[in-house]
Amino acid sequence: MSNPLKDMDKPDTIFAIGTNMTECHPVAATGLKKALKKGAKLVVADPRKTRLAELAHLHLPIRVGSDVALLLAMAHVIVSEDLIDGQFINERTEGFEQFQSHLAEFTPEWASKICEVPAEDIRTAALWYSQAERGAIYYTLGITEHICGVDNVQSLCNLALLTGNLGKEGTGINPMRGQNNIQGAGDCGAVPANYPGFQPVEDPQFHEKFKNAYNQPELDLGQSMTKVTALNLAGDGIHAMLIDGENTVVTDPDRNHCQRALESLDHLVVIDIFLTETAQLADVVLPASAWGETDGVQANTERRVQRLRAAVTPHGDSKPDWWIISQIARELGVTGFDYQSAKDVFNELCSLSPIYAGLNWDNIGDGNYQWPVPEEGHPGTPILHEDEFKDAKPGLFKIIGYRDPAEVIDEKYPVWLTTGRRLQAYHTRTQTGRASGIDYLLSEETLEVHPEDAKQWELQDGGFVRMASRRGEVILKVETTTRSPRGTVFTSFSFAETNINVLTGSGYDPITQTAELKVCPVSLTPA
């Protein structure tokens, strides 16, 4: 997030797109509800009538995967109505003229046909956001899990740059990250393209730095590889994998492909707290100590670095992940893994990561710091981009065009499926599914179908549906509801029994290789 969570009750216009916040980030959503009580306007773009959409002053139930068209048209309105922040554009951006001429043809009327919402509503959304004193954008995976995820994010950035809604309290571009430490995994360099602290692996300066720090003269300059590519190459270039705490075969798109990939490895080691569907495929399974048993650090969606503390001793013979990984490294004769504690590991991270340079195990105890913290004594950075953008470069308008999703509905697969999460379940339920009481509220997965669609496909509320895509099929219980619009059905990926990711996996964003989990054409027949 460019802005802190405590800013969430401060905007006077909120534009929430692709975020089911009341279910996925309920505590953050309370901030937005407070802003509404103070009189803020809420625009929600989401195919479904989520709880957030019910609270909205304007709900744009756009067709799944049509976000870029909506955002281009909003930019068109803002520019043609001259609601831009000219001073901000002059002082802090680049490429406005080119962007302006690019926008000319993308009228609300044009977008209306793609997004399947009235042009007038698109115009209203643009006016409200651009006329706000403090306009803030919030988004989640509804924006990123598309073949055009990067385009979607950059289109949102364009809107913020046009209106100067950046670098100030109650504004910004605010992705709500999904997992407790997904921000931290990136911060720590557990991504192919960056060393810890987002230092690019392609940069010779950092290559040299880590060659020395890690005592590895062979270290590649660049040559990063994403997980998606690695799974595609399994058995054909990639032959051994170490997976820590991820239920890959249930969470990832195209389950059958994933399972085949992991099975074709010579050697698979999984570290986890349960024998997950993924761990069952492993040659060696190593038991990790869990949350509540492990000291450590995690970073939240607003870049706040916080301490995790052990309250009880590890279950059975389980051990902290860092200990397990270090022991494997030592068995292999790799040097630099003589850590005695989580503190040792974290302090080494801080010593190598410029954004953590002012942090150490002892000064983060109260969670007071949001990175970057470039040196000790620095107060941290709750709001990004206040005076300048990263590396003092101007904010660049990106020229983006609309593309259809990887697969679109046709005669054989005439219904859009979109997937997501539910309040009472977390991801694949390895944890919430094992917490007592949750079954009382959510014991099984259903497919949300509009009542008219149910009629069309001859489905009964409470009956079963066979849902098929180009990759496979699943059988699910039907729940008729007007939460889903006509022509679009919804379900979550939480229940391994009804693994929806057998169907998904139609395409990937070409830059991030994020899967298009939010769009999948399907057919529905009674089961």
Binding site: N181, G184, H239, D283, N300, S326, L349, L423
Partner: protein, 365 residues
């Protein structure tokens, strides 16, 4: 919270509280200013996250020039005000109020596992010696034990009509799942059409439980461990689910986690939690937890082994892949759920061990 008396504002309007002069800022209530002076004014309907309500009258103070005591939580400080927080007549009034309030409730000491604020009434009753049954008679509130939800106990006979539950649900959560029906002795906290919580707008965030000052609303899951003999210990940590990063206090008895309470000063959540942070901590005690390393046998089954054997087997497979297919044949997937130390050592294992950037995490799915 600011603890240094007199230090917050160096000038401006001031009031005198129990003989001490203190500056304040426009809009502060007497209660808020007194709190900065570490004055322990008793309250029951007050939760600093909520709009002041002025319902319980325990926070009354005497103000020079005003004949009747005023509620300090709703009265704004004004320049030159002279306040006494605990003169004998006010203390006597508080005691009578507490006797009235407690006369309605069963004379019990709620278990501290009930909720964060559950000890507030009993602590005041003890402090003021107000448990003498002077006001026997009608009682309000009918408990709803038939609501079979596994999370929230609804023992309204212990309710004192402070409305904190209703207000936290409306003001903090914006859910408006519960409301007040009737008045006087017929007062009842209820849901729409008196349904079970499951059939209301309740999201089971547990905020009503945590703000209840009597244990009328209580944490059913935590109370399952009420009989365990050990003292409750609290450990401050962060919720393991989404990336909001809510601070929570894990409650343990011995080596068992028995419940969770929100950290009121948590920088990301300021006392708020959702159903997952509040009620789903117990997965770590589930019987499915892995206790020992496992190695897959030729027949596809797993065999439990000691660490030494498992680590050697794990390492050997990587060494063999590297020898046979080269250092680019190994890949690592880190977790977005495990702490920094896991992610950091994973990427270092790949970069230092194999010299590649064959490392990723679960953020692409």
């Amino acid at each position: 919270m600011i603890n240094e008396p007199n230090s917050t504002f160096a000038s401006g309007p001031s009031i005198k509280i129990d003989g001490e002069t203190i500056f304040f800022s426009e809009g502060e209530t007497i209660y808020e200013v007194a709190k900065r002076l570490q004055k322990n004014i008793p309250t029951l309907c007050y939760d600093e996250r909520l709009e002041a309500f002025g319902g319980c009258r325990l926070c009354v103070v005497s103000v020079e020039g005003i004949r009747n005591p005023v509620a300090s939580c709703t009265t704004k400080a004004t320049d030159g005000m002279v306040v006494q927080t605990a003169p004998p007549e006010i203390e006597k009034m508080r005691r009578t109020l507490l006797e009235l309030v407690s006369s309605e409730n069963r004379d019990t000491q709620p278990n501290p596992l009930s909720g964060f604020a559950s000890q507030e009434l009993s602590a005041l009753v003890n402090k003021y010696g107000a448990r003498n049954g002077r006001f026997q008679g009608a009682k309000s509130g009918t408990s709803n034990f038939k609501d079979a939800n596994p999370f929230i106990l609804r023992d309204y006979e212990q309710c004192i009509s402070c409305y904190r539950c209703v207000r936290v649900c409306a003001e903090q959560e914006g859910d408006y799942a519960i409301s007040v029906a009737n008045r006087g002795f017929k007062t009842q906290i209820t849901t729409e059409f008196d349904h079970d919580l499951r059939d209301s707008d309740c999201t089971f965030c547990g905020q009503c439980v945590q703000t209840c000052p009597t244990g009328a609303l209580a944490d059913k899951k935590a109370l399952r461990s009420a009989e365990l003999p050990e003292e409750i210990k609290k450990t401050r940590t962060v919720c393991p689910y989404c990336a909001v990063g809510c601070s929570i206090d894990l409650m343990t008895k011995g080596n068992k986690i028995v419940g969770a309470q929100p950290a009121m000063k948590g920088p990301a959540n300021k006392g708020a939690l959702c159903i997952k942070g509040q009620f789903t901590f117990d997965f770590i005690q589930h019987e499915d937890r892995l206790k020992k390393p496992l190695i897959k046998q030729a027949d596809g089954t797993f065999k439990e082994v000691e660490w030494d054997e498992a680590l050697k087997a794990a390492a050997k497979g990587f060494a063999r892949a590297k020898a046979k297919y080269g250092r680019h044949s190994v890949y690592g997937i880190a977790s977005g759920r495990a702490p920094h130390e896991a992610a950091y050592t994973m990427q270092k294992f790949i970069r230092a061990g194999f010299g590649t950037h064959h490392i990723d995490n679960c953020s692409r799915a």
